[in-house]
Structures are given as C-alpha cells and as structure tokens.
C-alpha cells in the first residue's frame, strides 16, 4: 500500500515538473481538445478515392464553389445550397466534377485551418506573457510599502483584466476548428450524396 502511494506521488510530481507537455502535444497549443493539424480525405470522405493530383483549380466552376463556401463567415446552409446548385449544373461527367470540388474543399480547408491554428498558438503565447506580467506585479505588490501604490495597483488591475479577457478569447477560438470541421463534414457528405 505504501509503495503504491509512493509511486503515485512520484508520478504526480514528474507529471508536473516544469509544466512539461504530454507526449504528442504542442506546448503552445492551449485548447482542451488535442491538436489535429490536418484533416485528410480518409477522415471524412465517403466517396471514391480522392487522387492527390486532382486539378480542381483549372475548373472555374469547382474553384468558384470552393472560394465561395469555405470562408468562415459562410453559413452551412448557404454552403449546402451552393453545393446543390453545383450538382445541378453537373449532370454530365458528374463524378469527376464532384471529386474536383471535394479535393478543392479539403485542400483549401487545410490551408485556412493551418492559419487558424497558428493564430490560436500565438494567442496562447501572448496569454503566457500576460501571466508572467501579472506574476511579476503580484511580486512587486508584495514588497514593503508598495501595496498601496496607486500606479502599481492600476497596472496590476489592467494586466489581470487583460489576462482574463484573453482567457475568454481562447475559450472561444478553441471551438472554431471543430466548427469548421463540422461544416466541412457536411459539405463533403452533400457532395458524396451526389454520387449515389
């Protein structure tokens, strides 16, 4: 029993030393959801294999569709309506058209996703900087005769407020990758349904 407890305590200490990141994680990734950097076709696509060499950009209709429905502000319903219209325009050579659109969506989504993930990591770095500032100000306020320093108190309040605001922002932005993944899944399902 004593051995079990000792081993447990040792493991807990090791787990917390120096804020080391767990294996397989990026130390700058602040979200509870584990980091997944790319979304591959195999993760979502329910149609025939998507060849990496598919040239979707030379097809104006596919390129227009991808450019129109991938921006983050586009509502899923509007994107699905655009896909329905695209399918309606491609009654001939339908499979090739669908594969071009799917390949374009996956490729462009991963580019947009990479930018988003980099922005989230930058926010996490800034959050750590704010934490350091608050810690330093805490230390300064603990010094003799500094607790009532009005200017120091103002800086301390401002830094703390900035820290908590950044925490709220991080909570919000950490949800965005899943929201984009959900919408991409619906887009690809709509395209795959066009094959049946």
């Amino acid at each position: 029993m004593r051995t079990a407890w000792s081993l447990l305590m040792l493991a807990i200490l090791l787990a917390h030393r120096g804020g080391a990141a767990a294996p397989g994680t990026d130390p700058d990734w602040p979200c509870a959801q584990p980091l997944v950097e790319t979304v591959s076709a195999a993760m979502l696509w329910r149609g025939p294999p998507l060849d990496a060499e598919i040239d979707w950009q030379s097809d104006p209709a596919a390129a227009t569709l991808v450019g129109a429905i991938l921006p983050r502000e586009v509502a899923t319903a509007d994107g699905l309506a655009a896909i329905a219209a695209y399918l309606g325009q491609h009654r001939q050579a339908r499979q090739a058209a669908i594969l071009r659109a799917a390949a374009g969506l996956l490729q462009e989504n991963n580019l947009a996703r990479a930018k988003l993930l980099a922005q989230i990591k930058n926010l996490a770095v800034r959050q750590r900087g704010l934490a350091d500032i608050v810690a330093a100000l805490n230390h300064e306020r603990a010094l003799p005769d500094r607790f009532d320093d009005a200017e120091l108190l103002e800086r301390w309040n401002f830094s703390r407020r900035s820290f908590y605001e950044m925490q709220q922002t991080l909570r919000y932005v950490c949800e965005i990758p899943a929201q984009l993944d959900r919408r991409l899944g619906q887009y690809l399902d709509a395209l795959a349904a066009g094959l049946r």
Binding site: L8, A11, I12, A22, P34, V36, L44
Partner: protein, 344 residues
C-alpha cells in the same frame, strides 16, 4: 419532440398477449397504437444520450433512431449510467457539481445526488447502491451512497481522474488519471489504493471484461488501448491503430465496449471518425468503421446486436449492426453528444 411512430416489438406483443385487457391496459394499448406514448407497450429499447453543450438528454427509439424527446438537465452533462433497476438515469452534471437523477418513466428530474467537484464520469457498484465518481478538478474519487444521498468517502488518486470502472464482482475499482497516465486499482472494501499501472498518455476510459480477468484502458493522446491482467496488474498487450490516410494525431482512443463473450470489442477513435473492431481474444484489429465526427463513447443494446456511438463534432449518433459490422445509420441529437446508454 414526439415522433408519433410506434415500432412493433414481438417481445412486447407476446408479453401482453396473455393478459386480460383491463380498461387501463386497453387505454395504454390504444394510445400506443395511435403513437401517443413514446414508451408504451410495444415500444423497443431506448437510447439515451447526454449532450455536453446542449445541457440535455436525447431519448431515441433504438430501432428507428427516431428522437422521442429531449430533456433539459444540469449544465455540461457528460457521464451517464442506468440505475440497477433501470428506472433512473444518473447524469454527471459537471458544471453544476452534482449528479442529476432522471426518472425514465416520467422523464422528470428527481432530487439530485451530491458528487464532489466537477464530476465527469462514474461507475455503479454491482449491487447498485453506490456510485464512484471521478472529480476531475481535485484528483479525488467521491463515493456516493445513493439511498442516503450523501458522499460517504473520498479516495485521492492521480491528477485529473477520468475513467471509472468496477469489477463485475464488485471487489475492485479502477480509475484512470489523465495527467498521471495511470490506471489505479482500488480495493472497494477498504477504499485503499493497491496498485498503479502506467499506460499511454491521457488515459480516458477503463472497461472490465465480463469474466473480471482483464481491464482495458484507452489512451487518448497515446492512441492505444492497454490490456491489463487483473490479477498481476501488468499490461499484457497494447493495441495500436493505423488507419490508411488518417494522420496519427487524429487517432485518439476513447470509449471501449467489450462483448460479454469476449469475442469482439469496439474502440472509439475520436477525430479519426472511426470505430475499431477488435478480436478480443487475439487483440487484432479486424476493421475500422467510418461513423460521425469525433466519435467519443459507445454502448451496446441489451443483446449486443447493435452498437451506438456519440459523435461530438457532427452532433449525431451512429448505429452499428454488430453481426455485419456495418454502420447502418446516423441521426442528429443535441449539441456535442458525449455519453450513451441503452435502456432495455
């Protein structure tokens, strides 16, 4: 929310066939046939799903996956369990720091049970009298006496306790701790920690085999399942997953179910959007089933002919036919489905 659809159930029809039709029973039968009762005689099993962000429980017909109703519960419902008599659903209302109790006949919430801070998952002992709750925020397991509605003990464990499972004979409790990367074996009589087994990173779920000889532990970041011999408390096998075309990062092992005959097991693999089918004797991966996005937890129906998964990003659940090992259907539920159980 009621679909108005009643699914014929041969078992229910047989059961009612030998009874004298009293006025009350006749009224129930007529109402059921008219589709006025969601769970009357003739109804099938129901699937119950906790929606982590929807703060609700979705109730679905297990055959048709028709949504029968949605019940508002406490904030951030995650782990869910049936009471031993299957009359109540216990719900970890994580952000309300309590266990909600839902009457499954009236669908009314009863007075809640205490839980300790931030309850995420729990396990019921085999006699149905106590719940063991993992308190993620304070590295404790709380022991809840259901009849007395009070916390009767706390067991310190590793950092961020998560998976909870009680052995079929009730003798051992296993808890996994996400940050310490261990499965903790606890004597259920003395409530003392007797062994810690190191597993891969961020262990999420523990599942006993029906014969009590093994405990399977999934590791979300490690992307593996450790099979632990319950007697020696050694990892005897590590199941790894490789899915062509899917990045390694996306293969995150979470929910596990193991057939009672230990022929097949199923493992939810998170954002790979797959369920792995495992030969539970050889531990070989037989197949990967593509379901919804971020597949999280799993539950069999009572005869293990069907399997249900919660898919937290696509906000739906999937139904798998176990005989053909095929995903049959997915239907939307609430916002971020998390836990799932099937009520016979």
């Amino acid at each position: 929310m009621h679909s108005g659809r009643t699914i014929p159930d041969p078992v229910g029809q047989q059961r009612s066939a030998g009874r004298r039709l009293t006025p009350n029973l006749l009224a129930v039968l007529v109402a059921t046939l008219l589709g006025l009762l969601p769970c009357g005689i003739g109804a099938t099993e129901t699937v119950l799903v906790s929606n982590e962000k929807g703060n609700s429980i979705s109730v679905l017909d297990a055959n048709s996956l028709t949504l029968l109703r949605s019940v508002a519960v406490g904030q951030r419902p995650r782990g869910i369990l049936l009471s031993k008599d299957r009359k109540y659903l216990y719900i970890c209302a994580s952000d309300d720091n309590r266990i909600d109790v839902l009457d499954l006949d009236s669908y009314q919430l009863q007075s809640p049970l205490p839980s300790g801070a931030d309850p995420e998952t729990f396990a019921l002992d085999p006699d149905g009298t106590h719940l063991y709750v993992s308190n993620e925020d304070n590295s404790l397991i709380s022991i809840i006496d259901i009849a007395q509605k009070r916390v009767i003990g706390e067991i310190p464990v590793g950092v961020e306790p998560e998976g909870m499972a009680v052995s079929p004979d009730g003798r051992w409790i296993v808890n996994t701790s996400e940050t310490t990367n261990m499965a903790h074996f606890i004597d259920s009589t003395t409530h003392k920690l007797v062994a810690n087994v190191l597993v891969d990173s961020r262990p999420r779920h523990a599942e006993w085999t029906e014969d009590g000889r093994q405990v399977w532990v999934s590791s979300e970041l490690g992307g593996t399942v450790s099979v632990i011999d319950a007697d020696s408390r050694q990892v005897i096998h590590k199941i790894e997953f490789t899915i062509p075309g899917v990045p390694r990062q996306a293969i995150q092992a979470v929910g596990i179910v193991i057939g009672k005959d230990r022929k097949l097991a199923f493992v939810a693999l998170g954002p790979s959007n797959r369920i792995a089918v495992i030969d539970a004797q050889s531990f070989a991966v037989m197949k990967y089933l593509l379901v919804g996005q971020r597949v999280w937890n799993l539950a069999f129906n009572h005869d293990e002919s069907r399997l249900y998964s919660t898919n937290g990003v696509s906000n739906d659940i999937s139904m798998i036919d176990v005989k053909s090992l095929a995903a049959v259907k997915s239907v939307p539920v609430g916002n971020q489905p998390w836990g799932v159980v099937v009520r016979p």
